[in-house]
Each structure stands twice: as structure tokens, then as C-alpha cells.
């Protein structure tokens, strides 16, 4: 059934349809509406049997699910940014123990300085925690990927996080198709654990593993990721058969036939990129884009195949690895190992900076002309940076950098306003 609802509510409805038995919640912007929506459903009796735990930290939120999952329950939680980091230890524990927990991350920048807006710092910083990481580009994908996530998690006994751009998707009202309970039940059977805390058949879970076996145990987790590379496309096909629309898989190309330049990105940015591609194609440019849905496991082969025809690849990523540059771009270069293709890194949208189509088109033109520095920072206020660096050189006690930068930008705004108004 089609509904015009907020992304968070769409996710809540989708998760509820998956019949979770234990939900833990700790609030953090911009995930709050998801857990609030679910709490109302549990309390009203609409989602039962389900235990909803209001815990005292994100670390507790995931820890509780580790216990619940080991006791055989289907589980869910959501977090963002600082919360994801606060449960970092538990993330690794959950994947290491092989527990099929599903979690939404409302992608948000990480402090300091504190910032509540969207970028991919949080899930990127946890890219090696062992969880499967899927990125939704629209709220429809957010709805669909959660349903697929439970199938994937329970089939492989591995936790899955569905990444949904904070605010941009979570707080956007748009048209989504919400499946019926019968449809979801048909696609997602009851959870059958591969390991279980059961008085009738006691096991010890989580014992120490020494140097003689740790490498092998660790490889088994990697192996699950490699299996996921096959399972994900199969699930997407099955999903399409059931629900009559394509969501998921590993990568999805857009107008890549005959493309000389291909733009690659994760998440909602793909919407704006596709609009830019359309404009450029209309102007005669041979350009296409690729949306990556599965970031972990990273689809090396699939990307190699879909990008091989291009002469140049431009990676637009909402992440900056300090001291290095782009991570998505680095991962893509790995996929193209041995193929002599220039890969440009465009760091954009950090801390929620808007990415207008205009800027995307401009940067693609620069890439075409080989004019991009590596990495290129989209819409960066270089004069402000230069002024600040200069000022820092003049005095040791230069003050907190973030506050100083805000002051710089504020002064610039006031200067602009004077030009704008003259004598009103």
C-alpha cells in the first residue's frame, strides 16, 4: 500500500512487519522518530509479542540484543554517529559471535566538533566491525532493505546494518510502498538460530580463542561476507519476484552504456547524481553513474565489471579519512587493480553540507578536463581556511579552531548582508 510518510516512520513500519521480538532503544538525532514509532506500536499492542527495552546507553542497547539474539529472539535497534561509536566494542562482539541482529544507522557526522547532520563518517568508521553494511538511496530502499536484511542476517548468522542518510532520508516525507504483513511473512520465515542458549542443550558461547585458532575463526567471518556477495543478488531477485520492484543487490548502474565517465556514490546522493547525469547526457556528454548498495562486503568483482568500460571514474563520498583522503575511492581503486583508469576522489557533504546538482555538474566538468586535485573537496570555503591558517601562525593561543572558523563565516555573512541591503 502506498503511503506518504516520513522516512523514519516508513522504516519503523517495515521493521515492525519483520516481527522483531526484542527491540532496544537509546535515542540520538536523527534516529529518534524510528524508535519512537516502534515504541508506540509495541505499547499499543500492534506489534506483539515484542519486548521494548529503554536502555541507558547505546552500548547497553546492543549488549541487550546480543543476549536476546543468543536466546533465540529476532532483534532490532537503531543508532547514529556517537551512538554507533559508543557501541563499537559490542559491534565487533556481535559479528564475532555470529548473531543476526539488524540495526538501522541514521548516517550522521561524528564529533568533534559536534554536528548532527548527515555524512557517512559513522558507518565508515566502523566499516571493519564485521557487520554487513547496506546503503539505502531512497526511503523505499530503506523499507525494502530492512526486510532483506533479516533474511540475509539469519541465513548467514551475521549482523546487518542498514544505512539511511540522516535527515535527508529519515526526515523526508515521500511516497513509499509498505508491504502487507502477509507479503512479508511469505518472504521472511520465523527465525531459526544456528546457536542457542537452551537449558535442554547447554553450550558455552564466547570463550577465549588463542593464537592457534583465532585466524581460522576470523576467516570464517570473512567467509560469510564472501557468501553475502552471492546471497545479496539472489535475495534482490527473490524480493523482486515477491514485491515486484528492484531493490538491493550489490551495485546498480544508471545510463552506463557507452559512458566514458562514471560517477560512483553511496546512499541518497545518487538521486542528485542521476539528475546531473540526465542533464549532462542531454548536453551530449557520455556519462553514467553507479550506485553501490552493499558497502560491506565490498563488491570488488561487480564493480570491476560495471566500471570497466569507462575511461574515468569519479567517486563522490561523504567521508574524509584524515591524513589519507577518500576511503570509498581507495576501495574502488582496489576493485580496478591492474586497470589503468584514473579514479578521482571528491569529498563532499561533510557534516550535512548540501550537494546541489549544479556543483555535481561543475565537478564532473572539471574531472573531464583533468582539473581535479586529489582529493577534491566540493564547495570548500578555501579563503576562510587560508585566513584561519594564517591567523593560527600569528599566535600560539589561537583558540578552539571550530569556534574560530564559525566566527570567520559569521563575519563573512554580515559583510555579505551589508552588500545585500545597502540602505533599507
Amino acid at each position: 500500500m502506498f503511503k506518504q510518510i516520513e522516512g523514519s516512520m516508513a522504516v519503523a513500519e517495515s521493521v515492525a512487519l519483520c516481527r522483531p521480538e526484542v527491540i532496544s532503544c537509546y535515542p540520538i538525532t536523527p534516529q529518534t522518530h524510528i524508535v519512537e514509532g516502534l515504541s508506540a506500536m509495541v505499547k499499543s499492542g500492534k506489534l506483539q509479542p515484542c519486548e521494548y527495552m529503554t536502555v541507558e546507553s547505546e552500548f547497553a542497547a546492543l549488549s541487550a540484543l546480543i543476549g536476546a539474539s543468543a536466546a533465540g529472539a529476532r532483534t532490532y535497534t537503531a543508532t547514529s554517529s556517537q551512538g554507533l561509536l559508543y557501541m563499537a566494542e559490542a559491534l565487533w562482539n556481535a559479528s564475532g559471535l555470529g548473531l543476526p541482529i539488524v540495526m538501522t544507522d541514521g548516517n550522521r557526522a561524528i564529533g568533534g566538533p559536534i554536528n548532527i547532520w548527515n555524512d557517512h563518517s559513522d558507518t565508515m568508521s566502523m566499516r571493519d566491525c564485521g557487520w554487513i553494511q547496506l546503503h539505502a538511496a531512497t526511503n523505499q530502499e530503506a523499507v525494502d532493505l530492512h526486510i532483506q536484511a533479516y533474511r540475509l542476517a539469519e541465513e548467514l548468522s551475521i549482523p546487518v546494518m542498514v544505512c539511511v542518510d540522516g535527515f535527508i532520508l529519515t526526515h523526508a516525507y515521500e511516497r513509499v510502498s509498505i508491504p502487507s504483513q502477509a507479503e512479508v511473512d511469505d518472504f521472511l520465515p520465523k527465525y531459526e538460530p544456528t546457536q542457542l542458549l537452551d537449558p535442554a542443550d547447554p553450550v558455552s558461547i564466547g570463550a577465549m580463542v588463542g593464537p592457534d585458532a583465532y585466524m581460522e575463526v576470523r576467516y570464517l567471518l570473512h567467509h560469510k561476507h564472501l557468501q553475502a556477495l552471492d546471497v545479496l543478488p539472489r535475495l534482490a531477485q527473490e524480493f523482486s519476484d515477491h514485491f515486484d520492484r528492484h531493490t538491493g543487490g550489490l551495485v546498480t548502474p544508471y545510463r552506463c552504456e557507452g559512458a566514458e565517465t562514471i560517477v560512483v556514490a553511496l546512499g541518497s546522493l545518487n538521486g542528485t547524481i542521476e539528475e546531473a547525469v540526465d542533464d549532462l547526457r542531454d548536453a551530449g556528454e557520455k556519462i553514467g553513474s553507479v550506485k553501490i548498495t552493499s558497502f560491506r562486503p565490498f563488491p570488488l568483482k561487480a564493480l570491476r565489471t560495471v566500471l570497466r568500460g569507462a575511461k574515468r571514474i569519479v567517486v563522490m563520498e561523504k567521508y574524509l579519512a584524515p591524513g589519507l583522503g577518500g576511503i570509498l575511492a581507495s576501495n574502488i581503486r582496489m576493485a580496478l587493480r591492474g586497470m589503468n583508469r584514473p579514479v578521482d576522489t571528491v569529498v563532499c557533504g561533510l557534516g550535512g553540507r548540501p550537494i546541489p546538482k549544479k556543483s555535481v555538474i561543475e565537478v564532473l566538468k572539471k574531472a573531464h578536463d583533468d582539473k581535479l586535485e586529489e582529493p577534491h573537496f566540493l564547495d570548500m570555503n578555501w579563503p576562510a581556511i587560508e585566513r584561519e591558517l594564517k591567523r593560527q601562525k600569528t599566535t600560539r593561543r589561537s583558540g578552539p579552531a571550530a569556534e574560530r572558523m564559525m566566527y570567520e563565516l559569521l563575519m563573512a555573512t554580515y559583510a555579505g548582508e551589508e552588500e545585500l541591503h545597502g540602505t533599507d
Binding site: E51, M53, A60, A64, A68
Partner: protein, 339 residues
């Protein structure tokens, strides 16, 4: 699930309390007990924690008809009981992380509830490091939500498994690897530390108790009592560590008894924030008697000794005795004692 255990004869009939009538015998006297923590684990000679855990979990298994799941924090107990590739646990057991045994236990309890499995119960357990320090936030959350979990803390008063570092449970003036017996104020400073049983009581949870390996019957009884309640429960068990305390491994139970009889470790029970029972002291023992048998307090004695410090420790014991009325022969009036 029962196992036939072999009793090694010591040459008397005291093994397994067989001088007592059946009703008063410890559960451990039954050769066909559950034996939840089976032999073969790698605990040190004279480990108080291994002793306490075995008694506690077997008692819980009996109280729950064997329907028990365990969440264990990182620490000595977890490490010595599951040396890869073996496990000495004969009950369903989950080790996650250092700080989260209480949260994990809460999650297990929620799962059981959602599945309608009301007869299966949950114990979360850990050492003082996991409970008093790094896991305190999670524990407080579990208390506040009144999750249906019994949390057992085995308190050996330091981070033993990592090499005897100071914890929030280390007593004043005790030597540890991070509060060495050097300088003008050797050992752990006065005026620091947390009293977890009282903090637990402050949360108003259904049942809080202290116990000791000095009185194993009492420990069994308190675990059994705890399992009669639903909701958050806390049991704080004093377990000497011969290695960390520098005491004689053969005298672990004696050390525990001296701690109780000096008043340094009062034994009591509380319900919803009010003390309901306490163990009166038959014969008070001065703290010296207890302290002088542990190397971690050796610097308080001898030529360079510190009588003031010993007197201050004695005052702590006296305060406990006064606070919990441990030397009163009369029974407590109802609701007389709070936190």
C-alpha cells in the same frame, strides 16, 4: 542435567557435610549434583571465586529446576572456566564483553519473556572490576528497569586477571599493582571506593544481599532466596584471592571468615531498599587479625608500620558493626535499617 562427581576422601566423614542430617546439608554434598562449574577449570589453588561460583550456580540450578541461562563478564571466572577449546560450564553460558553482562542478561530475559518462557531464569555475573567500575552504568540501568535478572558479583577486591590492579572495590591501604606500597601514603588511598550493595539498595530493587565463601550454606540460601523474586536482584559475594591478596591458598575460607567477623564485610539481606536480615557477630575479631595474614597489607605492620592506618581500618569495621547492628543480640525491629 546431573553429573556424578567423585569425592576425594580426606580421611574423615566431613566431606559433603555428611555429619549433618540431609535437610541441612549443602547441595554440594550430593555426589549427583548439577555440577554447573565442572572440574578441570584453570583457577588458582585456593581460588575463592571458583568456590563461590560453583556453590552459587548449583544452588540456582536447583532453585530453577535446571532452567537457567548465564551471562558472564570478562574476568578471572570467564577466563579460567573456558580455556579454549574447553569449557567447564555445564549450563547454557554466554560471554560477551567486560562491561555488559548485566545488559546481556537483561536482553536474554526480554527474549524469554517475548517467547512466553517464564520458567527459564537468568543470572548475570562478573568480578568487582566488571561490576563496580566499567559495568556500573549498565548495572544501574538494569536495576532501574527492574529487569528480571539476578546479578552476582564475585568481589576479590581488584582486577585480578590482568595482574592485580586497583578497582573501585579495593579496600583502603591495600597494595595493588597500581596502588603500590611506596611513598608517604602506600597502598590504596582512604576516602575512595564504592559500596555496591548499598548502591544497589538505593535503586530500590526487590532483593540485595551480601554473602561470603566463609559461610557457604548462607550463600546457597541467599541464591535460593533470590530466585524466589522476580525483577532485578543483586548478590555481592566476598571471595578471597590468595594470589592477589598474598594469603595462604589453604586459608581462603579463613580469610573470608575473618573479614566477616571483624565487621569489614557485613552479611545482610535487603528488600526494596530496607535491610531485612543481618548476620550478628558471635565473636568480634580485631581487624589486625585479618590484615596481618595478607601480604597486601604487610606494609602496615612491623618496624615501618602504620598504626594510624590500622586504627582507621578498625573504625571502618566499627562503623559497619554499628550501622548494621551486628553486635546486638536482639532481633531488628521491622524497617529499622535502611541504606
Amino acid at each position: 542435567m546431573r553429573e556424578h562427581t567423585k569425592f576425594y576422601q580426606t580421611g574423615t566423614f566431613t566431606v559433603g557435610n555428611r555429619l549433618l542430617d540431609e535437610g541441612h546439608r549443602s547441595l554440594q554434598s550430593d555426589a549427583d549434583r548439577t555440577n554447573s562449574l565442572s572440574c578441570g577449570h584453570r583457577a588458582c589453588q585456593g581460588c575463592g571465586e571458583a568456590l563461590g561460583a560453583r556453590y552459587a550456580i548449583d544452588a540456582a540450578m536447583r532453585a530453577t529446576n535446571g532452567q537457567l541461562l548465564i551471562a558472564n563478564a570478562t574476568g578471572c571466572l570467564e577466563v579460567f572456566s573456558t580455556p579454549y577449546p574447553q569449557s567447564s560450564w555445564q549450563v547454557p553460558w554466554l560471554h560477551s564483553l567486560f562491561a555488559n553482562a548485566s545488559s546481556v542478561g537483561a536482553g536474554i530475559s526480554a527474549a524469554l519473556k517475548s517467547k512466553g518462557k517464564n520458567n527459564v531464569r537468568v543470572i548475570a555475573q562478573g568480578g568487582d572490576g566488571a561490576t563496580v567500575d566499567i559495568g556500573f552504568g549498565c548495572l544501574s540501568g538494569m536495576f532501574e528497569r527492574n529487569d528480571d535478572v539476578l546479578y552476582i558479583c564475585y568481589d576479590n577486591e581488584a582486577y585480578m586477571n590482568t595482574g592485580v590492579q586497583r578497582s573501585g572495590s579495593t579496600p583502603p591501604r591495600a597494595t595493588t599493582a597500581t596502588t603500590q606500597a611506596v611513598g608517604p601514603k602506600p597502598g590504596n588511598p582512604f576516602g575512595t571506593g564504592k559500596n555496591l550493595p548499598r548502591l544497589a539498595m538505593a535503586h530500590g530493587i526487590p532483593y540485595v544481599a551480601t554473602a561470603s565463601v566463609a559461610d557457604l550454606h548462607d550463600l546457597e540460601a541467599k541464591v535460593t532466596k533470590a530466585m524466589e523474586f522476580r525483577g532485578a536482584r543483586y548478590l555481592h559475594v566476598h571471595v578471597p584471592c590468595p594470589l592477589g591478596w598474598g594469603s595462604d591458598p589453604a586459608k581462603t575460607i579463613l580469610m573470608a571468615r575473618l573479614a566477616v567477623e571483624s565487621g569489614l564485610f557485613p552479611l545482610f539481606e535487603a528488600e526494596y531498599g530496607r535491610v531485612t536480615t543481618r548476620r550478628k557477630l558471635r565473636k568480634r575479631v580485631p581487624v589486625d587479625e585479618y590484615l596481618k595474614q595478607q601480604k597486601r597489607f604487610a606494609h602496615l605492620f612491623g618496624a615501618k608500620g602504620d598504626e594510624e592506618a590500622i586504627a582507621a581500618i578498625q573504625r571502618i569495621a566499627d562503623d559497619n558493626i554499628e550501622h548494621y547492628r551486628l553486635d546486638e543480640t536482639a532481633e531488628l525491629a521491622a524497617n529499622v535499617l535502611r541504606i
